[in-house]
């Protein structure tokens, strides 16, 4: 009896170990970016200034930053449509420069501006894409296309509720419908990584909501790695990890929770008629503070109440600064946006 149970236990542990090993192997990198630099011709500053990060397979990664931060530049280089000035990029295991065709085969892209042919119908746009990616052979009409294609298109149109519009020119589509159609199109060749460059810009709140619901479904069913650029904080908060960039450099990188901790600096603003006494007291408790009065006293993880309790000097002014993530983000990008204006032309 003893030996059998021991054997079972051992076997169980071995299984656990092998599962762990497998997990390590499966968790490959979908995107590796190393010291990426991009300087546009005739530009003075680097649009992207030596950034490095990587994205795991199946991860939802968001690149967050204000206009002109270098988001579109980065995504254009990752998707092989723009040359880089320096650095190394690996997408789905392939070198973005030397194996660009293999990279292209493995990625789907939703561009910032809808890239549909306005003169073609919705179905023709999808057919064009499918043939271009070698999924189905060319045929001049829908009815001549293989049954598998016809079935898939009808199915996708059903999901989006645009069965009737499939044979109408794109011109008649609303912004939200165009976006959805682009997502359908980009998923036709079952890409491993889906790049979305500010997919909800120009959409009304309802379209944005339904688009996100659809994307969540896609992620669940297709297990696609998603690389998103956005300037909406609430969109980035949905991601597994967020990378904030500004001036082409990484400001912060990590889970939304980690970013919150890093970005949200809590402090107390206080002042007293007897400033000398107050500064002495602050130094005694070794609080970090800035200013010559009023003073910004950093909380550094301590509670505001504890800090106030420890100060005996009579205060003439007291304010607790406890920003939301949104406010913290705006503080970071807001400081620099006015001076950026001249350099945003390319992004």
């Amino acid at each position: 009896m003893y030996t059998v149970s021991y054997y079972n236990k051992l076997n169980y542990h071995l299984k656990l170990v092998s599962a762990k090993v497998k997990l390590e192997i499966v968790k490959k990198k979908a995107i590796i970016v190393k010291d990426l630099v991009k300087k546009y011709r005739k530009a003075e500053k680097n649009a992207v200034d030596s950034i490095s990060f990587d994205v795991e397979e199946g991860e939802f990664f968001a690149l967050l930053g204000p206009n002109g931060a270098g988001k579109t530049t980065t995504i254009s280089i990752l998707t092989t449509t723009l040359s880089k000035s320096g650095g190394e990029i690996t997408i789905a295991g392939y070198d973005a420069d030397k194996e660009s065709s293999l990279v292209r085969q493995n990625i789907g892209i939703i561009f910032q501006n809808p890239s549909l042919d306005q003169n073609l119908t919705a179905e023709e746009n999808i057919r064009f894409h499918s043939v271009l990616y070698g999924i189905y052979p060319f045929a001049p009409t829908f009815s001549l296309m293989p049954d598998a294609y016809q079935k898939r298109v009808k199915e996708l149109a059903g999901i989006l509720g645009i069965e009737k519009e499939m044979n109408k020119p794109i011109k008649t589509f609303s912004g939200g419908m165009k976006r959805k159609l682009e997502i359908i199109r980009s998923l036709m060749h079952k890409p491993k990584i889906l790049f979305l460059d500010e997919p909800t810009s120009g959409l009304d709140p309802l379209s944005r909501k339904t688009l996100w619901e659809y994307l969540r479904d896609v992620r669940k069913t297709e297990k696609t790695t998603i690389f998103l650029t956005t300037h909406y904080l609430e969109e980035a908060e949905e991601a597994d990890r967020v990378c904030i960039i500004n001036h082409g450099q990484i400001v912060s990188l990590g889970t939304p929770e980690k970013i919150k901790r890093e970005l949200v600096k809590k402090f107390i603003t206080a002042d007293s008629k007897d400033r000398e006494k107050l500064t002495k007291e602050l130094s005694k408790h070794s609080y970090t503070y800035t200013g010559t009065g009023p003073f910004h006293i950093m909380l550094d993880g301590k509670s505001a109440q504890d800090v106030i309790k420890s100060i005996n000097t009579k205060l003439s002014y007291l304010y607790i600064h406890n920003p939301t993530l949104e406010e913290a983000y705006l503080e970071i990008v807001g400081n620099t946006q006015t001076e950026e204006k001249g350099a945003t032309a390319h992004a």
């Binding site: 092989t80 449509t81 042919d117 306005q118 003169n119 073609l120 990616y133 052979p137 060319f138």
Partner: protein, 259 residues
């Protein structure tokens, strides 16, 4: 096989767009009709006796080559139009060869040019140009060759232009002089040396002469109207096509990615 399908679908897209753009179909007939009807008619009445051959037919054969060459070359401008409409991104991120993309585009614009040609031939027949069914059938592969040369020339010119506006300004400059240097409307057997050099380096010259050499193949005036002969024209066109196609695609794609 995938590349062939991709070329077919890119070409088909251009053709579909033409069929949905009625204004463009009609406007493309206007110039050839003026050239053949007005210019051909008036020269025929005044110069034919001295030249020793029918001027209307001479211009008609020339306009066939000129229209195919120019229409395909100018059609390539739509590559920039695609870029400005953000559609080119969809094509350029696809995993197919860059040469297939450009070749598909040239083929599509060739189909567009060949559609125009039908109207021109019908117009020619109405105003009295002689053209047999056998002649048309023999000419078809040569029509396509002229289109391919025009398209390759188009991508070569376009490869260094950044906007549709500059393309629309530059193209007439590189096309219009060729009408005269290629001898579409006038004989160019004898030319002063500078013009002779320009004429012989102008790609349209070989496009026009190729079609005349086939059209006039059994005619007694062959020696008077044809400059070279079919094999020489084909050889020069083949060489020019290769250089324009490879050089143009390379430069165009480099400018597309290096910004």
């Amino acid at each position: 096989m995938r590349e062939v399908n991709a070329i077919a679908t890119i070409a088909y897209r251009d053709f579909t767009r033409l069929l949905r753009d009625r204004a463009r179909i009609i406007s493309t007939f206007i110039f050839p009709v003026i050239f053949i009807g007005v210019l051909g008619g008036s020269l025929q009445s005044n110069l034919s006796d001295e030249a020793g051959y029918n001027f209307l037919t001479f211009i008609f054969a020339g306009v066939l080559g000129q229209t195919l060459f120019q229409s395909t070359a100018s059609g390539i401008i739509s590559l920039i139009e695609d870029r400005e409409n953000d559609f080119s991104q969809e094509i350029f991120v696809s995993p197919i060869s860059r040469y297939s993309i450009i070749f598909g585009k040239i083929l599509g614009e060739s189909l567009v040019a060949l559609t125009q040609l039908v109207g021109i031939i019908i117009f020619g027949l109405i105003i009295g140009v002689t053209m047999t069914v056998a002649q048309v059938i023999t000419l078809i592969p040569f029509f396509l060759i002229v289109c391919l040369l025009g398209g390759a020339f188009g991508i070569f010119v376009l490869s260094n232009l950044s906007s549709q506006r500059s393309a629309n300004q530059i193209f007439p400059f590189v096309m219009f002089p060729q009408f005269f240097l290629a001898g579409v409307f006038s004989p160019i057997k004898e030319l002063p040396l500078p013009l002779m050099i320009l004429s012989r380096i102008s790609p349209m010259t070989y496009a026009v002469d190729l079609l005349r050499s086939v059209y006039y193949a059994d005619s007694p005036v062959y020696d008077k109207v044809v400059l070279f002969n079919t094999p020489i024209n084909l050889a020069v066109i083949g060489a020019m096509f290769t250089v324009f196609m490879i050089g143009g695609t390379y430069l165009f794609m480099r400018n597309e990615r290096n910004r």
